[in-house]
């Protein structure tokens, strides 16, 4: 059954209107019931809002994919979690409202990430390179990588 008011969404909210001369059965969708002030807006927690908004699934959600981790928008809506740092950028156009509703805001004004040398990430990359060089028995390359690691404060490699 469709909503009496918008005639688009399925009616999920039924009540008897006794305000007129005749008692009338009214069928509304949640959106229209809310607009008419029939259901009051009980405050929901960010988690509850998220769970509610994730239910609005679109057909094309399965085609919107994060190229880095291959998470689709429909998977995001199933789990309510991002798969990697890149997902946010890819899904942003589709989840702007969701974030605004959940967080009551759409702009970060707190501390910013400080650009750093990512020394540890670099050390781990070099260690991996060293392992590969040793596998290939490329000892000259390996020695160079070891020196690099030493200048970064890594002694026992």
């Amino acid at each position: 059954m469709l909503c009496d008011n918008c005639k688009k969404n399925p009616a999920t909210f039924f009540y008897k209107d006794v305000s007129g001369e005749q008692i009338k059965e009214v069928h509304l969708c949640e959106e229209c019931a809310r607009k008419k002030g029939i259901i009051s807006d009980k405050k929901l927690s960010p988690h509850e809002i998220l769970q509610k908004l994730l239910k609005s699934v679109e057909k094309e959600d399965g085609q919107i994919v994060c190229p880095i981790c291959l998470l689709t928008l429909s998977e995001f809506k199933k789990f309510g979690r991002f798969g990697c740092a890149n997902c946010l950028k890819v899904f942003e156009p589709y989840i702007k409202t969701l974030i605004r509703e959940v967080q009551n805001s759409e702009k970060h004004i707190g501390k910013k990430a400080k650009p750093g040398g990512r020394r540890i990430v670099e050390i781990f990359r070099l260690k991996e390179e060293l392992r590969r060089a040793l596998e290939k028995e490329a000892y000259e390359d390996a020695a160079k990588i070891r020196d690099q690691l030493k200048t970064m404060g890594v002694e026992n490699v």
Binding site: K43, S45, P46, H47, L50, C69, L70, L71, E75, F79, G80, R81, F82, G83, C84, A85, C87, L88, K89, I95, L98, I99, V102, Q103, N104, S105, E106, K107, H108, I109, G110, K111, K112, A113, K114, G116, G117, R118, R119, I120, V121, I123, F124, G153
Partner: protein, 351 residues
């Protein structure tokens, strides 16, 4: 038997601090993820292993403390870390490699591979949010330089769940509010807390039961605020709750002084005499003692001793304290023993 962890009580939790009778503890946690490594949902075992190793190196090169591989810990040790609020229920359930770092002072713990790559948290007794926050951010900054955080200009620090975007900051206080519970005002207050954008939970966070008149209040939103603003908001609200609690206590004292005194001293009687006692009963009796101290009725027990009893008597901690695995009844016996001896020290004649 428990070689990985000796007995864990953060000295920070037993130090002198402000408002420590009503505010049991303060906690700050910051969620961060590392750029270039998949999040929980898409993480493979080798990603998780690599992250644990990277965080371990970053911490070892910059800080003193213990780095614990959670896979290698015994269930009881994990339970104890959980009861001491050093790890979360969620990380215990995970199958991927996880770890936790505990700073030398015991007031900072860093969970690796919880819902986010890093959950940096600071614990303190009393109302102490800005102090503990500055300690948390010391770790946060160095780890950020060493590892590089996932960040977005608009949405701030990128977290696994959209509910943590932005600052990734959750500031919380654990409050002891027996006055507001007895005067039945608590329901109304909790509702307004919620409407002001703060969440109320039980002792062990999300989904946990309210026990011992203890309520955890924390910010619900993490985006659109500066870190200081969030901390200020919780601090102000806590101060208001302290005022209301004190007023409620006055009301009870005026209306039902003898009933209240009776309840408090009976509770003390049970704690100093019981031979068998379970951990929830301890929580509710300690609540009465805490109130008695707050009202100046009990003068020979201090809050520090009370906090220690509260932590040591949890089901996992009591076993770790005695260094053996104990069945339920055995635990109840040892717990009663422990409390009697702890409280006997104040007055040798009473035991």
């Amino acid at each position: 038997m428990f070689e990985n962890i000796k007995w864990l009580i953060s000295p920070e939790l037993s130090r002198e601090c402000e408002e420590k009778e009503i505010v049991v503890s303060t906690r700050i946690r910051v969620a961060r993820n590392i750029e270039g490594i998949p999040f929980e949902l898409k993480m493979k075992t080798k990603d998780a292993e690599k992250l644990v190793q990277m965080v371990k190196s970053a911490l070892e090169m910059n800080f003193k403390g213990k780095f614990l591989d959670l896979q290698k810990l015994k269930p009881l040790e994990k339970e104890s870390l959980l009861e001491s609020h050093l790890i979360s229920p969620a990380i215990v359930k995970k199958e991927l490699p996880t770890a936790t770092f505990i700073s030398e002072e015991g007031n900072i713990s860093i969970m690796v591979n919880e819902e986010d790559h890093l959950r940096i948290q600071g614990l303190s007794c009393g109302l102490n949010l800005s102090n503990i926050a500055s300690k948390v951010y010391e770790f946060e900054e160095i780890l950020g330089q060493e590892l590089g955080y996932a960040y977005n200009e608009n949405y701030g620090f990128i977290t696994s769940c959209p509910t943590n975007l932005g600052t990734g900051l959750r500031a919380s206080v654990l409050l002891h509010l027996p006055g507001l519970v007895y005067t039945n005002e608590i329901e109304k207050i909790l509702k307004s807390t919620f409407n002001l954008g703060m969440a109320v939970r039980g002792l062990y966070g999300e989904g946990s039961e309210i026990k011992g008149n203890l309520f955890q209040i924390s910010n619900q939103h993490t985006l659109g605020f500066k870190e200081d603003e969030l901390i200020e908001k919780i601090t102000k609200f806590t101060k208001m709750l302290i005022d209301l609690e004190l007023k409620a206590r006055d009301v009870i004292l005026n209306r039902a002084r003898y009933e209240l005194e009776d309840k408090i001293f009976r509770s003390l009687g049970i704690l100093t005499s019981a031979r068998l006692i379970n951990s929830d009963e301890v929580l509710s009796l300690l609540s009465a003692i805490r109130l008695g101290i707050g009202l100046g009725l009990i003068k020979d027990i201090d809050i520090i001793t009370l906090n220690e009893i509260m932590l040591v008597t949890r089901p996992g901690n009591i076993q770790l304290y005695y260094g053996e695995i104990l069945e339920e009844q055995e635990r109840d016996i040892r717990r009663a023993d422990y409390i009697r001896h702890k409280l006997a020290k104040r007055n040798p004649a009473s035991d």
